[in-house]
Symmetry: C3
């Protein structure tokens, strides 16, 4: 795609084109980082990049650049090197849009592969692609344009909306409901039974898990992640919430809209997560805890009690992030502090 | 099911019916939480519930209630509202039993789906159901009444007992032995090779993993969990031990009976876990550590050395839970303490 | 295999035979730990074993022993008991080699199982075994001697080298490149899309992930682990790097040669890991962090900033291991220290 066509497309997008320079109007074939870029590549630099990355602009072999308009240092550099560039409010969004232009999603073959096994009374919408060795249980519905990759198992009575992308060998249990435009990555498990056992004198009594999982529109579930169904009621993942790999969502959890949960997060049963909550990698949330809107928890945080909206928390148990930074900086002084305390103690006890 | 029939069934169960009131004798169709219940629902409240939940009894639309007999506050409420209710020693067990009555397990079709691939010399007991696209390796045995869902892969020489429930796309490696009434959830891996590599001057030398995994009766393994086999000998999961999702059990681990391990627990090779041990979410256990009977570790605990039976531990490295609670409460005072220490130090060095 | 034949084979190996004693020259059928060994078993004891293990030599029923040559205590014992033994520089390597002799890998049937589905223009080398219900996408190449177990899904345009072992139900995404002699364990996912979303006023904008994953020769990936592809460029796992179960490797991560990552490690996007780095269980690494060669991080460490080569680190945020040991030993004194601080404060404020 020629550079001037990318300029035109980005003008219609969400990235905010401020200025651009068409000099050689190169053909752009692929995209790469500034360091790895070669001829016919387009590259980008995000807002607030560190100085060492900014200086790569001088040496990068990229044929075209997407750059932040509000950075005078960068603007100075490019005015000198005088190549093909676009200055943008949001260069990262521009790069995402450009990748979409250069690498359109591969179309899967429409239709049902002959090796797939389809149960009774299954409703399959137009434009659906069902891959090899897929199994679809009885009374399940699959909406228009959904792609189901090889080896996926969908149990009975599942409702899958339109334009979902379901990757290989993932499993969707009975009763689960998926909205539109969801992505289920490979080997994820949606709607498995919640972990519910009651202690009795004869050992564990299993609490039947007869609830369901609901994924609203535009939910994405990472590879190997597990979303459990509850004993009664629903586990609900809110619209546009994105979940990374190997995340555990316990039975009866609800999340709001637009949350992001990084890899290996674990959320115990019944926790209620607000809108726009961001949980970094390996965060744990205890059962029935309520987390307010727009809370951010840094990596490895353990949230054991309710968190008010807008808070940024860290540590285990979670405390305000700024306090935690000071506490953990002082943690490494503990040996000295303990020594001083012992001396003090000795003096006082004399 | 009519309410009086539920009363009769619970009297024969383990929940301890103390008193009941049949007023409207409603038909109970489904179960729900107090908040979500509507007509024809049954709901419950556990022992020691918080006051805000207790007050929901007044407003809940449930047609019948399972309630704790030992709670005077609740007993007062229900004597006033005068609906259909049962007072029980163990309302949670009653609810589990009621769910079993209202939602009987769906019967899978007996027999071997035509798309399944069965190896040579496989023994399959009566009443077994083998789903679509399953693969069963040579010389494997599957006991009576076991259900194997679509996409499961069982390697060679596996022995699976009676009445197991094996969910979609899980994998059971060669030599593994499963007792009766086990549940293997979707995408779990039983008997994968342990992580054993010996450093040499030419890089890692692989330690062959020729041992096996043994799951005793009534073991349950969560979705995506992995139970490794050892280099020699056995990895053993004791009877009635329940393992949640995304848990890692290393090679040669043994656990006792009736343990519970929450999601994302990791147990390193050779650890020996007693009976009735409870590990909360994201707990880690170091290799070869011994954990005594009935030890409880709270979430994110890191157990790096032996723990005596009956202890409740927390933190990393693990210390007694009560001590940890006091320590972590004081952790957030570290900046002040460090400041006082610096002042003290300055004064002393004058 | 007769004991004297094992002696001969080990002399040709890497374990450094120092001395041996052929007395009964037993037939060795199997291998076991010292405790579990019975007749016709061979067993071993590693260098630097604790005394209680050493004393097992006296009582073990093993017919032959592999023992450390540099341990006078052990050498004294065996000169008295006078059985069949070998003294070695590296008894653990000897044991690994012996397991390889006693338990040769089972040969899988060469050829493509009739239930497998092979796409268009797939190149399959000689000696390849493709199991039941496997799916191989268009334009993929599979090198000589590679074994692909049942239920594996390989997407389009994947290049798999020679002698790989790919276990059941694992998934390899489009564009991924595997060297020779790699092992992909069950339910692992190689080349899933990285977790990249840019916040916009209309919700999350997905950053297309059009890069690829490259596994160099002799890489091993544990059961259920996930290796993500980046938006552009490559995620690279270096030669001979071994990854345990349920590990998350984010988009654009690169690792050097000969690393080892234990279960449940999580490495965020763009981190650069040197050669010979060892990360213990549940370690987390933040995005874009650089870790030097031969760094060791103990379990649960959280690495949030660059670590110089050769360092041993612990804790969160990571500090030198020795310092962390002293700090965490003092953590449990915090209640006393805080109390002393309060008294001090009161006295000073008088």
């Amino acid at each position: 795609m020629q550079f001037n066509k990318i300029v035109e497309k980005l003008k219609q997008g969400q990235s905010g084109v401020i200025d651009f320079n068409i000099k050689n109007n190169p053909v752009i074939l692929t995209a790469a980082s500034l360091e790895q870029a070669k001829e016919n590549d387009i590259s980008f630099l995000d807002n607030n990049s560190p100085a060492n990355l900014k200086n790569l602009i001088r040496t990068s072999k990229a044929s075209a650049l997407l750059l932040p308009a509000n950075d005078n240092y960068i603007v100075d550099i490019i005015k000198k090197i005088s190549g093909d560039w676009i200055l943008l409010k949001e260069p990262k969004i521009a790069f995402a849009e450009t990748l979409g232009l250069l690498y359109p999603n591969e179309r899967e073959k429409e239709g049902i592969h002959e090796s797939a096994v389809i149960g009774e009374n299954v409703k399959i919408g137009p434009g659906v692609s069902i891959g090899a060795n897929v199994y679809i249980g009885d009374n399940t519905e699959i909406g228009a344009g959904t792609i189901v990759h090889a080896g996926v198992v969908v149990y009975k009575k599942v409702r899958i909306g339109a334009k979902n992308l379901i990757h290989a060998n993932s499993v969707i249990h009975s009763g689960s409901t998926l909205g539109d435009e969801c992505v289920i990555n490979a080997n994820a498990v949606v709607g498995g039974e919640g972990f519910g056992f009651v202690p009795t004198s004869k050992g564990w009594k299993k609490m039947p898990q007869v609830g369901i999982v609901i994924l609203k529109n535009k939910v994405e579930i990472g590879s190997g992640s597990t979303i459990d169904r509850p004993s009664v009621g629903e586990t609900i993942i809110g619209e546009d919430t994105k979940i990374d790999n190997l995340v555990q969502i316990g039975h009866g959890v609800t999340t709001g809209k637009g949350c992001a949960m990084a890899a290996q997060v674990g959320i115990a049963g019944g926790a209620q997560i607000g809108n726009g909550v961001i949980l970094a990698g390996q965060v744990g949330v205890s059962n029935k805890v309520k987390i307010g809107d727009r809370v951010i928890a840094s990596s490895k945080t353990g949230i054991v009690s309710n968190i008010e909206e807008g808070k940024v928390v860290s540590g285990f148990p979670a405390i305000p992030n700024k306090l935690w930074l000071r506490c953990s900086a002082n943690f490494k002084k503990l040996p000295e502090i303990a020594k001083a305390f012992r001396q003090l103690d000795r003096r006082n006890s004399r």
